[in-house]
């Protein structure tokens, strides 16, 4: 039995070796995806900064001074309207904008809470993260100084926080850092491999009639099946490993929790997504149809899985769908293990949901296979 499975697996790898396009897709999609996010840009000093100073006061100039003293912000110049800020950030000419409302100095002098707004182009998450934490630090320091000053003047009333520095990340509202994005990226790429590859390679053999020639040999259906899925499982794990190593080396995203647990739970996820692929292969009549169907599966996986868009803000029907998608649960497992370093005590619920999904999808996949065989 194992010899036959080995022959089947060997054949898949021979085919893969000759299929340059697929090979490139498998290896380079992860690299490509990860660079798209621009994580490679780690030098976040000297961020181009613009100032919209409607208060035109010593106080506002002091704050800008304090900001540039950190070296993180290079003040490029002043602008005169919000529209200009938007324009410059959109064009990529500025990454940070500091905005003082007209009453900034007045509030400060009157002992109230003055607001200043630091706007950060957060489409590059690393940049945004740094800019925000530095700006926040500056704001805190200035606040504390002013507070001490006020107390020194012996004000009787309980002082309010002098500066309420609001930081508003644009274009990435939930501040998705590499630590946050990469687990999602792994889940999405792995599921793409499992679904598309399983569906396409089974349908290809159906289309060409090569399956018939194998069915007449002593190969049993289970062996044939394992011969198909083992290489795909291997590829999925390879991609996951490449991504995690890359995340570690290039973006300094360590895995906080147990790697073993991570890979074990990935197995559940891979089996779940393979089920989707096999199911598609039982209904699709052609390779084109198979990839269309895979793609249709793919959209909700990307948009409703909490990968890019936070799911809690969405209407409840979407939240329900999100719960039903295996990607959602695997992303949660990954984030829990990678970012928070927690173990089974937290992820078991998601693992259980993956198991439920596996039971469901494989039941209908096997039904489909039987119908196709009759």
């Amino acid at each position: 039995m194992w010899n036959r499975i080995r022959a089947l697996v060997w054949k898949e790898f021979l085919q893969l070796r000759r299929d340059k396009l697929t090979l490139v897709m498998i290896l380079f999609i992860p690299l490509f995806q990860i660079t798209i996010y621009g994580f490679l840009n780690n030098d976040v000093k000297h961020l181009h900064t613009i100032v919209l100073d409607e208060s035109r006061s010593q106080e506002s100039r002091d704050f800008v001074q304090a900001m540039s003293a950190t070296q993180y912000f290079d003040v490029q110049g002043e602008v005169s309207s919000e529209a200009q800020i938007r324009d410059l950030i959109d064009k990529g000419k500025a990454e940070v904008a500091i905005w003082f409302p007209p009453d900034y100095a007045r509030e400060l002098r009157g002992g109230g809470t003055a607001q200043a707004l630091v706007i950060v182009d957060a489409s590059n998450a690393t940049v945004a993260g740094t800019a925000m934490s530095v700006a926040f630090g500056v704001g805190q320091t200035r606040s504390t100084q002013i507070m001490f000053d006020r107390m020194g003047y012996g004000q009787a009333t309980k002082p309010k926080t002098p500066i309420d520095l609001r930081i508003r990340p644009w274009y990435n509202p939930n501040l998705r850092t590499p630590n946050f994005i990469i687990p999602g990226l792994v889940a999405i790429i792995v599921s793409m491999t499992c679904v598309m590859f399983a569906a396409a390679s089974i349908v290809k053999e159906k289309e060409r009639g090569t399956l018939d020639q194998v069915m007449v040999t002593p190969v049993r259906p289970l062996e044939l099946f394992l011969g198909k899925v083992i290489p795909i499982i291997g590829m999925a794990y390879a991609q996951m490993t490449v991504l995690l190593v890359l995340a570690r080396v290039a973006f300094n995203v360590p895995i906080a929790g147990s790697i073993l647990l991570l890979y074990a739970s990935a197995f559940l996820f891979i089996v779940a997504m393979l089920g989707v692929g096999v199911r598609i292969s039982t209904v699709a009549q052609s390779q084109a149809q198979a990839s269309q169907m895979s793609f249709m599966m793919f959209l909700p996986m990307v948009f409703l899985s909490d990968y890019i868009f936070p799911i809690h803000g969405m209407p409840w029907p979407f939240q329900v769908i999100s719960e039903l998608i295996p990607v959602t649960h695997f992303i949660r497992i990954m984030r829990a293990i990678v970012m928070r370093g927690v173990g089974l005590e937290v992820i078991w619920i998601h693992a259980a949901k993956l198991l439920l999904f596996i039971a469901f999808i494989w039941t209908i996949a096997v039904k489909g296979m039987k119908r196709a065989a009759a």
């Binding site: 009639g209 018939d212 069915m215 002593p218």
Partner: protein
Amino acid sequence: MGGPVMAESILEVENLTKRFGDFTAVKDLSFEVRPEEIFGFLGPNGAGKSTTIKMLCGVLMPTSGKAQALGHDLFTDAEKVRQRIGYMSQKFSLLDDLTVGENLAYFGQLYGLEGEKLKDAIAQRERELQIKPLEQLLVAKLSTGEKQRVSLAASTMHRPRMLFLDEPTSGVDPLRRRLFWEAMDDLVLDGMSILVTTHNLGEADQCDRLAFIMAGQLMAYGRPRALKEDMGRRVVEVRSERFRELQREAALHPDVISAELMGRGVRLSLPAQANPEAVLAHLRGQGLAFEPKSPELPSLEDLFIKLVQDSRKEA
């Protein structure tokens, strides 16, 4: 025929039927294949030849019927005979992104060959079918004739006792076709039994025995010669300058079943019990000069045409 080895049959098919929805592709088919024979499965396109073979090889489930091969029930006990059955499908089904050598190794391994045994089997098949020079080529790059020989090699890696070939020679030139048949003869000498489908009458003539099927039904079954004799006819070919007049005259004669133009002559079909000389004398009496060949058995083509015409009449 007969003799002491009134052999046990290698393959026995009984009332085999396959329906796709309410269309019956194969209907109540019964026949047997004997040891070390080339059994021809003859029929026009859509007759149900491939469907029958697929059922016998376990690719398709039959609707009803029985089949036994090498002492085992093909439909309930298939696993026991897989190792001793070979199948070459009508649709080319090797892996065209693998080389010839890799394909042979792949199928050899699926049939349990390994190490030295596998190497020997590959070398032997490559020698017998003259595909050694192709070993390193991708199958996708081969010509039709080469593909067919490689397919035959792949489906016989494990030396099956019973081999099913579904239109193995369609689309190749006569020379390649003859080479392929020589390879089949070698396999039979080696102890194999072959069931081969074709709609080529020349090939059918070369088979030891034939089943002629149409619309899923068995129309004629037996040795080619016996089938021709059973038609109960004789054929006389006649050459003449005035062949058109000759044809017209002959067709009017009560003993002539058919008179067809053939080149500059006429081909007359007569009942076996009729006297050809009497018919020829009658035609000479009409003032027609000609040279007759000696009467012979009808061809498979005659049989084919007769069966088609009969079935039209019934319909």
